[in-house]
């Protein structure tokens, strides 16, 4: 797991209030019942704070899986 993976995993653990969560690209609201609006907002804001980025409306509503979120972060130069 890369350092950025670890930072993202920590963001997810805080957003989902689960210290044992292990990050996987396949995670999405469909595979995680706990992925509700509040968790999504916490996760996106956690990313903004941690990586110093600002998401657009489009990016916020489209980041509905770990894979999609990573793609958005990559486009912002966070994920290399």
């Amino acid at each position: 797991m890369t350092l950025i993976d670890q930072r993202l995993q920590q963001i997810f653990r805080e957003a989902f209030e689960n210290d044992k969560l292990t990050l996987a690209d396949s995670m999405s609201p469909e595979t995680m019942p706990q992925w509700d609006s509040l968790a999504h907002v916490k996760m996106m804001m956690g990313c903004e704070e941690e990586f110093g980025v600002r998401f657009t409306i489009e990016e916020t509503v489209e980041s509905t899986s770990v894979a999609k979120l990573k793609a958005v972060l990559a486009a912002k130069g966070v994920w290399r």
Partner: protein
């Protein structure tokens, strides 16, 4: 494609359907009926130009909605444009839509307040720059104890004790009430002397600006019976109050007098209670306040605290100068006409 824009009056039907779906209420729910929503979003307001309803549309459908309640803070050293958002709702199928819309509205004014809010909102607001400022405290006073007792749905062993307490409070308040201030009902606030409206120099607080036009806007609220009063000492105007009536309850939507003396404020709240009691259907009066001057006066006038809510403040430009002594009332959100069962 996601887009945030003010809603047009022609989109009112879409907004109504969206709000009813998100809040899980039917067409009979008064808060989301066409005339009420039209007033909230489109009736001319002197502190806001154009539509006050904002929607985030995603793939052509409304995914989030919020209605702005404009407010102007008078700090004593300047005027700060601000607002609150009511009817904030978002579709669960578009995560993040609600907060993106909220952030957009946050950027429209210098400062922003949020009163109360759900547990979820209270978790999120600090992350987008809000801090918990003052608390707004809610109070009630029973004006007709026996009818209030009779009308209470469920009665327990405490009910007779409450009845006795309400009678005792009524007698005490009658003894303590001065006769110096009277409430005179007026049709509108047009022509009211400028001296009757909030002035931060008088109370040394951050107050919300009121004008005849802004109070007349609230007076036109279709979700409650609204009445305007001028508070007078003899023939001299000293302040005003705006009362709303829903069923058996009267609410002091707003009240201000030109004084920093809690005893005179207590007289003003007592005068509002007397005005409310003139309506034989009213059994209880409610009020809310956030500042020590008003809170002291309300308690002195015999009102009993029911609950409190936090007032969150966002002020990225420090326009309020770190002040935390806001005097807000039920007018700053929908508290003066809101009814949980739809009215």
């Amino acid at each position: 494609m996601a887009l945030i824009s003010p809603v047009a009056e022609s989109e009112l039907g879409d907004v109504m359907r969206f709000l009813r779906t998100v809040f899980g209420v039917g067409e009979s729910h008064r808060m989301f009926q066409a005339d009420v929503l039209r007033w909230k979003c489109f009736a001319p307001h002197p502190f806001w130009e154009g539509s006050r309803g904002y929607a985030l549309r995603y793939r052509g459908e409304i995914a989030a909605f919020g209605c702005v309640v404009p407010c102007r803070f008078l700090t004593g050293s300047g005027t700060v444009a601000s607002c609150n958002v009511i009817d904030w709702a978002a579709s669960k199928s578009v995560p993040g839509a609600g907060i993106m819309l909220y952030r957009h509205i946050q950027g429209l004014t210098g400062a922003m307040i949020n009163i109360g809010g759900t547990e979820d909102a209270r978790q999120v607001l600090p992350r987008i720059g809000f801090h918990a400022g003052v608390e707004i405290h809610h109070y009630t006073r029973v004006l007709r104890p026996w009818r209030h007792f009779q009308a209470a749905g469920r009665k327990g062993w405490k009910s007779p004790l409450r009845l006795a307490r309400d009678y005792r409070e009524l007698v005490r308040a009658a003894h303590e009430a001065g006769q110096a201030l009277t409430a005179r009902r007026v049709d509108r606030f047009d022509g009211a002397a400028a001296g009757v409206f909030p002035d931060p120099a008088v109370t040394q607080q951050v107050v919300c600006a009121r004008t005849p036009e802004s109070l007349n806007y609230f007076l036109a609220c279709p979700a409650a019976q609204m009445d305007a009063y001028l508070l007078e000492r003899g023939q001299t105007p000293a302040g005003y109050s705006l009362l709303s009536r829903l069923g058996r309850q009267c609410r002091i939507a707003d009240l201000w007098i030109r004084s920093a003396d809690p005893r005179e404020w207590a007289e003003a709240y007592a005068a509002a209670a007397s005005a409310a009691r003139a309506d034989p259907h009213i059994t209880e009066i409610a009020v809310a306040a956030s500042s020590p001057l008003q809170i002291t006066a309300i308690q002195k006038a015999g009102y009993r605290r029911t609950h409190s809510e936090p007032v969150f403040v966002s002020d990225p430009g420090s326009l309020l100068g770190g002040r935390n002594d806001f005097a807000v009332s039920l007018l700053e959100n929908d508290g003066f006409y809101w009814s949980g069962n739809g009215g």
